[in-house]
Symmetry: D2
Subunit: 350 residues, 4 copies
């Protein structure tokens, strides 16, 4: 419940802005003895790096992580793990154009209202660049969960309204757009190019799948596992809706259709998305995040200045066309962090 800390037991606290010296965080509550190296974290960071394809910004960052504490002889010590990632490409540019103008779809107005002023350079703390620390923290969670047989993947289900078949969710991270099949890639590629030419941007849907989650995670009442997941995903910038299992479709279904019947050793379906009454059921956990189009467009928009004057704005520069696919490793990280936390919470109770 503090803006910059996530988790109750397995906690990630982060810091860093788009244009400051660097970003980083502290992972607190990771058990001792988990194999961990900077390379493991780097692998995940490389997946969200800028310049991953035509949908992405051309900002150049190596995003090299350094672990400062909490690891000894290749294993976690049980104490807090500090890490940093330096910003390299934070060259001073001319911000006079946006310094006093609220960019539509951005947090500018809210930050001014909240803090009385704001770091106007690239959005400061509201920049998507803060997700570097989420991905690094998620990689630590992944190291913990791997030893418990829990695996998580994130893939793009829909981009610009074009849906993909979920043929190979685990191979998605090796495909462009983190696509779960090959066929959709050229379609998405074409859509992205067309929209880029128009100076516009696209939204999409990312699905996250977790396997190997034991039954019994999550807490009754407020801290249901689905509540924690919704919090985790909706806290990522650009996410405007979260679904669990059949989600939106469940609201138009009937009990007799939506209930997942059970047979010895299995369920007949998974409309619940692996969570019943807020507690994991042992089935695969399935959640979806609906991602809005990136608000920075090069088309002209009507807006106001911080003194309330009517203005128009056209946002140029090195911006992504869609938060997808760079948001995928971030959403995966949030599910990893949630599951690590819930697994440890459950462990101390049973």
């Amino acid at each position: 419940m503090s803006g910059n800390t996530f988790g109750a037991i397995f906690k990630l606290t982060t810091f860093g802005e788009s244009h400051g010296p660097g970003l980083g965080g502290v992972v607190d509550g990771c058990p001792a003895g988990i194999p961990l190296t900077a390379e493991k974290i780097q692998d995940e960071l490389d997946r969200r790096k800028p310049g991953q394809g035509i949908a992405s910004t051309s900002r150049k960052e190596s995003d090299t992580v350094e672990i400062l504490s909490g690891v000894f002889e290749g294993r976690t010590t049980g104490t807090s793990i500090g890490f940093i990632v330096r910003n390299e490409d934070h060259r001073s540019r001319d911000y006079s154009k946006i310094m006093h103008i609220y960019r539509p779809g951005h947090a500018d107005l809210g930050y001014d209202a909240k803090y009385g002023f704001r770091d106007y350079r690239g959005g400061g703390r509201s920049s998507g660049r803060e997700t570097v620390s989420r991905v690094a923290g998620g990689a630590v969670a992944q190291a913990l969960l791997a030893g418990l047989g829990i695996e998580v993947t994130a893939y793009t289900r829909e981009l610009g309204g074009i849906a993909a078949d979920i043929q190979d969710p685990w191979g998605a991270q090796d495909r462009p757009f983190f696509a779960p099949c090959d066929d959709v890639v050229p379609l998405w590629d074409e859509r992205v190019r067309a929209v880029k030419e128009e100076g516009d941007t696209l939204g999409g849907v990312v699905e996250i799948l977790a396997c190997g989650v034991p039954a019994g995670l999550g807490e009754p009442v407020f801290d249901k596992l689905d509540a924690r997941l919704a919090y985790a995903l909706m806290g990522v910038g650009a996410v405007k809706a979260v679904e669990i299992g059949s989600g939106v479709a469940a609201s138009r279904s009937r009990g007799s259709l939506n209930n997942d019947a059970m047979v010895p050793g299995a369920f007949a379906s998974n409309n619940a998305g692996g969570i019943l009454g807020g507690i994991s059921s042992g089935q695969d956990i399935i959640v979806r995040a609906h991602v809005k189009p990136i608000p920075s467009i090069s088309k002209e928009q009507h807006t106001v200045s911080d003194t309330g004057q009517a203005k128009t704005i056209r946002i140029g520069g090195r911006h992504d066309i869609s938060a997808i696919p760079r948001i995928n490793p971030v959403l995966k990280a949030m599910v990893l962090l949630t599951l690590a936390d819930q697994w440890l919470l459950q462990r101390r109770m049973s």
Copy 2:
């Protein structure tokens, strides 16, 4: 992050099961001097009472609240507010039929996995009856927010796939099904009757609208206002998806269409649902919860016993046909609790 406490500053901690002696809670962190009476809380409780219409159970409960502390001469003292509601209709029945059988769509299996055993009487803590305490806590939040000019309403947007026009959202609480218009009521009524006859159940969509929320609420990064709202709503049993503003539709839109342009003193649209970058913008806050059909159906279902044997089950008795409309005051309460908490969090920072 503890299962039974909600909020960081304005905190609600609850207790109580379906068939125990009573339910209740503690509101901690409510500022001193807020006018509060048991009657104000009772008004809200009366809105979620059983027996509100044909969609609802016939369980008889007066749900009378008693305040035990924290109020002196009609005002809050700033110390913790304890309240209880006695269960009246917890007559001992024969549970031998469900004692060892997992009801499809319920938390039974998860509770057994989590705790090693469970209170099989009416679901125990997993029963929707726990929401009595949420509504009572929400009424305290409402008393605080009323003094700040913040008002919240919840209305049914869709029931059994039939959508309603949002003509009168503030009058919804006086209509059957908390409908936002008159026309839809007979349609919903008919649908509910038909489904009841079939022994089946229905889902729907509830929208919650908050007016008067100042710009600047919410925290960057993990504790975005929308993340807190998603957590609050998804933590209510039966909710399977949460949308903010244009929500799901945003993922199929474009930046140029989804961005809310600004003109001096106003926004041209509200696709953001009043939240940008996780911070309130001063616009109306709009969130939607997708509610699954009640899993207790009188049709026969396939399931298993707690020793893994194949079984069939038919759930009779006094069950609701839909969580709507009784879930509406609960969802409203969760938004009230969230806003009270965020308002106090913001206050201490600025």
Copy 3:
């Protein structure tokens, strides 16, 4: 960190004032399956009841606890445990004498500064009566710890400057003043009578001993086990100093004398009080709380009114001469709550 909740995993949230309808609390985070009955809690409550001896008030309260949730068939269910204790003797009296006068040594001035007004009836929430809920919560912790072989006792080491021999710490709860030996009882009795006659009050020292605590409890850095214990004990009204092991004496000792040498399977001494570097060592845990004299005296005192006028006050009525012995079960409860919480915290890490 919220005024009315104690603990991170095993949490106690309390409510209630001296002269309201009742007190109570919620225990959240207690594992499932712990044997628990209202009688077990009642036993502990009976130890702090008014009217326990000449040092105590003559307020008549049966302090009967009722468990409202979280226990099923004699065992905890893992969900939140709600309990209440009705105030019986909260007869309306004439408070006009103290309504606008700050009692020296009391929180009156602070409450007015904090909240803008206060419940002047018997101190409201600042009354020692709130400790009823602590003792009830501690009894739940005791039920958990008993199954783990951890036992805690509290005994009076000093009263009115007269020290006792620690001959029988575990039998203390059956002696007047919770004395750890028989000889000191008549001496304390005499001192108390003399001071009572003078209209004055006494302080003393309570020591709490915990056996069976495994090595490894506590966290490095801020949440050292001794830090948590100091917080727990100093949070009880009237406590003005807390010592761990040799405590104050350690500051005048030398490394060669204060270090506890180790031999195979044992320590040669226990100056550390069972805690090294904030982590339990497996030795007995020993902490001491220094309790100030009760501030309500019948001698005349100089003070001010809430409008800053010079006043004199003489506090009559049914007041204790010393917080000892009624504070002893409270301090024991705080140690029990701390150890239960730390034990559960450690469990999830190892």
Copy 4:
């Protein structure tokens, strides 16, 4: 309640070990607009630097702090402030002598019990070196409190059993040993030299004084201001007792003597140490920490190995003779952090 985070609103999360690449932390919850520079933090760090006098280690560290985020144009932005301090003198030495031996008075045994293994290089996370991050965080709190007229000083009241007169508490930071008068310095100097020659170590008493604290800080019940201070100070390694105001002496006093009488606009005494019923009264806040002698002595000690074998150990090297004076800025930092947190907590309630 997490080992590495301190505070509820104004939060400090730290990381770092004695012999890793570096230490650091994150300050979360600092309001926007507070003037802050690296130099301000550096000033405080310089006060706890090694090599400050003959009582101290000769470890060479420049302890240069770098701010990585949260400050823009010389003012805090309201977002999280990340900072790091590189370890320079973490040269690899031969640890084979202590790798498997438990040093008496140290956390070695507890860490092994807790985590299954430990970073044996200089104590790892249990090293006093972690306090670098506390002092840096305290400097941020100091920047906030300075603007509110709240000032804190820490001075040595006693060293090796020799007490000092409190003549000039605010000038202490410019005297050797942070002495509150000139006369005691040669006496302490002599004592330290003598003990050093014997290969032994000394304890002492540090008093912390806070002026300008408004009435009304602190929470009733568990989070009393004195409870938070006791937690803050007892959480610093080597502290074995904490007193508030008259502290230990209060337990041997009487109500008529220990109560602080009030006259219009003032108190006649300050036995309460500025805190009544857990709430600040507007008087100076006075707390004392009793510090044990440093356990690393060059005399031979009996101990055991991690396999339970009898061993003897003699700890040579660059160790301090007393935690005083280097602990003083650390204790001051803990009080600053506590007051900043409590001030922000109170702000949102009133």
